[in-house]
């Protein structure tokens, strides 16, 4: 042993230190395979098509981003009372328009002195949603009770009653209207959608046919025609003399529309559950509803979460269609504001502002769905 090491140490000057097999300390990787240079080489310039793609992408960025930033920020006017005021200051976007109408964009025509009630309802919504959506929240139990009571609280806050000054639904508007339609639609359509999905897979032929016809009919026509039904036709089908709040009519249609789509999503989940699960539940002597509630639905809903959330996002986006029948959601407020001679020609500012508003909500929902998917993924992770 010593002989060898001495032998080798004689060569040390030429070849550097020598090591027994397996004891050599790790050398740093060659500089071409680590660090930013390597990353750029692999991800951006690995082949000729890749280089061309990179050039194309850089060109796209160079053509859009500076112009967009200039328009939206550096060359934009944030103050002023009319479009000409904005143009006098800057050539780009005229955000003063948005800030001058910000209250309307959020609250619609809800009486200004009562806007605190909308704010309170919004805070309540957050307080109800947090314990519903996340399970590691302190005092979650009380939060859930609050969430169960929230629809009634919100109803009285927004509509009045119980000593609060009543506000007509025709005053509802702006982003608050979007939230009212969106949240109610989501909360009500899920149970209806589940029942429809179960009905479509029922053993009873008449129930099944009814559910199929309903679902396929609703999915075959655009929401806008259903809203036309709500605004023009629904009154014909009610006993003569009854009047029916327009917002409520719209809500019914939105719920019916979303529940048909949800039913198909849930049906997909139900189909993926092996028949053995139902048979096992039957063998245990569970009734139909118990088997569904305890065995089938928890599994089916879990795998259909992405689809369900996508449907919710679709519903939330579809709330914009109510402008076609004259309700004033943010888009309606924006269109009405654009008709103002002082602010004409600022369509891009208005629609981009609304687009960002919706993007925040919908993107948030899709991120939450990803989080939930990961959390509920209790199977074998690959």
């Amino acid at each position: 042993m010593t002989d060898i090491s001495q032998d080798k140490s004689a060569l040390q000057d030429d070849h550097g230190p020598d090591y027994a097999p397996g004891t050599h300390p790790s050398l740093p990787p060659p500089s071409s395979s680590v660090g930013p240079i390597h990353w750029i080489r692999v991800n951006l310039f690995s082949s000729i098509p890749n280089i061309l793609l990179t050039i194309l992408a850089v060109w796209v960025l160079w053509a859009t981003i500076p112009g967009l930033l200039n328009w939206a920020l550096f060359d934009a006017a944030f103050q002023g009372d009319s479009r000409s005021d904005c143009r006098a200051v800057a050539e780009g976007a005229c955000w003063a328009f948005i800030s001058s109408r910000f209250g309307q964009f959020i609250y619609g025509f809800y009486p200004v002195e009562l806007r605190w009630r909308v704010d309170l309802a919004a805070i309540g919504l957050v307080m109800a949603l947090v314990p519903l959506l996340f399970d590691k929240v302190p005092y979650r139990r009380f939060g859930l009770y609050f969430a169960a009571a929230y629809p009634f609280i919100a109803y009285f806050l927004l509509m009045g009653g119980l000593g609060l000054e009543p506000v007509e639904t025709s005053k509802f508007g702006g982003f608050m209207l979007t939230m009212v339609i969106g949240v109610t639609g989501i909360a009500v359509s899920l149970p209806i959608g589940i029942v429809l999905a179960l009905g479509r897979r029922s053993d009873m032929p008449i129930v099944r046919v009814l559910c199929v016809v309903f679902i396929e009919f609703i999915r075959g026509v655009p929401l806008i025609t259903l809203l036309f039904v709500a605004s023009t036709m629904l009154n014909y089908f009610l006993p003569p003399g009854t009047t029916f709040d327009l917002l409520l009519r719209v809500l019914i249609m939105v719920v019916l529309f979303a529940s048909a789509y949800l039913a198909e999503v849930v049906r997909g989940g139900l189909q993926a559950i092996p028949k053995g699960q139902t048979e096992a539940a039957d063998a245990l002597g569970l009734t139909y509803w118990k088997a569904m509630r305890l065995v089938i639905l928890p599994q089916a809903l879990k795998i259909s979460i992405p689809g369900i959330v996508n449907t919710f996002i679709g519903l939330f986006k579809d709330t914009t269609l109510v402008i076609i029948i004259g309700l004033l959601d943010p888009l309606g407020i924006g269109k009405a504001a654009l008709a103002d001679a002082k602010w004409q020609g600022l369509a891009a500012e208005v629609y981009i502002f609304i687009a960002i508003l919706f993007f925040i909500c919908c993107f948030g929902m899709s991120r939450y769905s990803l989080y939930l998917e990961n959390k509920l993924h209790t199977g074998h992770k690959r």
Binding site: R219, V221, F228, F237, P240, L331
Partner: protein, 400 residues
């Protein structure tokens, strides 16, 4: 066994109606039918009473009366003296045109973005990701209005566009639309048409023959290249033989707008772009999921068999990815068609804007108009889903 039978033999007792699964099912269904019947009677009765109270009748005779409104884009002959029926027909064609154009563009863009999203190039895949997420999460109505607003407010007026000479003085982009020269075919075009039919017939025949030859001998012909050359070349040859009987009608500024040439109206362009870009984002995600669903082993096996990358893609990856892609693609096509109903927001005269909009308001026939519009959309939806179901069956995995 004997116990069960004796239990069954006990006969019908009243409590079995809700205790026994079979009887309960029958009872439930009877109740559902009775409820439905009562509901329908109730609303029909109400509708009859309400209509009578307003002095209205239910009927479709109004379709034959003059519509007396103008439609800015009509592919069939139409003027304000035409009937409501004809206005509806114009609307249906307009819906069809924007739906077909939208589906074509959305499919091309969607597949392109879906593939780019999977690119090794970090920058490109991030860019596409941003595009997809932003477009998917913004309501399509907002996008339609945004595009329309940009076109109408930011593009120059026809006068300015004409003064700028457009592109070589033949193509003009203004806030009244994109004007391009329109081809005017002279005599002798028929020969090119016949040549095209012959070329297509030859292409089909050649493809079948080439496949048979390959099955029998293993010899491979460049079918696609030859067919493409024939389909383009033969009509071109015929056209040249007739001495190019083609003239162009060039748009010219007359008064406040261009006259002549072919035009893409701002309403159509905004709707087309917004619908295509919106749907393309969804299709891109579907395509990405479809390609990722084909396991990597398939590609490796194909390379191991000695197939070149383009063949691997065409013969191994794409056929398997399509099986995953087609069903959700169908629902995207349906969504695009249904979303085209938002045309009413910017005044593109589709079926909702003609029958469901102006006709409804003029005649006061709410029920009839809404029923017509719904029936037409149902028919559109059924047609698309029938076609896509046929296509899906065509590409589905053939199992024992």
């Amino acid at each position: 066994m004997a116990v069960a039978e004796s239990h069954m033999d006990q006969g019908f007792t009243f409590s079995k109606l809700w205790r026994d699964k079979r009887y309960r099912g029958v009872l439930m269904q009877i109740l559902v039918i009775a409820g439905l019947f009562a509901f329908v009677t109730f609303i029909v009765h109400n509708a009859i009473e309400n209509l009578a109270a307003l002095g209205k009748t239910f009927g479709f005779a109004f379709l034959n009366t003059p519509a007396s409104y103008d439609i800015n884009q009509a592919f069939i002959e139409y003027d304000s003296r035409s009937s409501h029926f004809r206005a509806g027909l114009v609307g249906i064609i307009n819906t069809g045109v924007v739906a077909v154009c939208g589906i074509v563009l959305a499919t091309i863009l969607g597949f392109l973005f879906g593939v780019l999203r999977l690119s090794n190039n970090w920058l490109v895949s991030r860019l596409v990701y941003c595009y997809v997420e932003f477009t998917r999460n913004v309501p399509v109505l907002v996008q339609i209005l945004l595009w329309y607003g940009i076109i109408v407010n930011s593009l120059p007026t026809p006068k300015v566009a004409a003064a700028d000479h457009g592109i070589w003085d033949v193509i003009f982009l203004s806030n009244r639309g994109l004007y391009i020269p329109a081809p005017v075919f002279g005599d002798g075009t028929w020969l090119a048409g016949i040549a095209l039919v012959i070329a297509i017939a030859f292409a089909i025949f050649f493809k079948i023959w080439a496949k048979k030859t390959q099955d029998a001998t293993g010899k491979i012909y460049p079918v696609f290249t030859i067919n493409l050359a024939v389909i383009i070349g033969l009509p071109l040859l015929a056209f040249a033989a007739m001495g190019f009987p083609l003239t162009w009608e060039i748009p010219e500024l007359k008064g406040f707008n261009f006259k002549g040439g072919a035009v893409l109206k701002p309403e159509f362009t905004a709707l087309w772009l917004a619908l295509s870009l919106y749907t393309a984002a969804f299709i891109a995600e579907i395509v990405r999921a479809g390609i990722q669903a084909v396991s990597h082993g398939q590609t490796e096996a194909s390379y191991a068999l000695g197939l070149k990358p383009s063949w691997t893609l065409r013969l191994v990856v794409i056929p398997q990815a399509l099986r995953v892609i087609v069903p959700p693609l169908t629902s995207q096509y349906l969504n695009l068609t249904k979303n085209s109903s938002l045309a009413i927001a910017i005044g593109y005269m589709d079926i909702v804007a003609t029958i469901g909009g102006i006709t409804l308001n003029q005649t006061g026939k709410e029920m009839e108009c809404v029923i017509i519009v719904m029936a037409i959309y149902l028919a559109f939806s059924l047609m698309i889903s029938l076609f896509m179901n046929w296509y899906n069956k065509h590409i589905a995995l053939v199992e024992r």
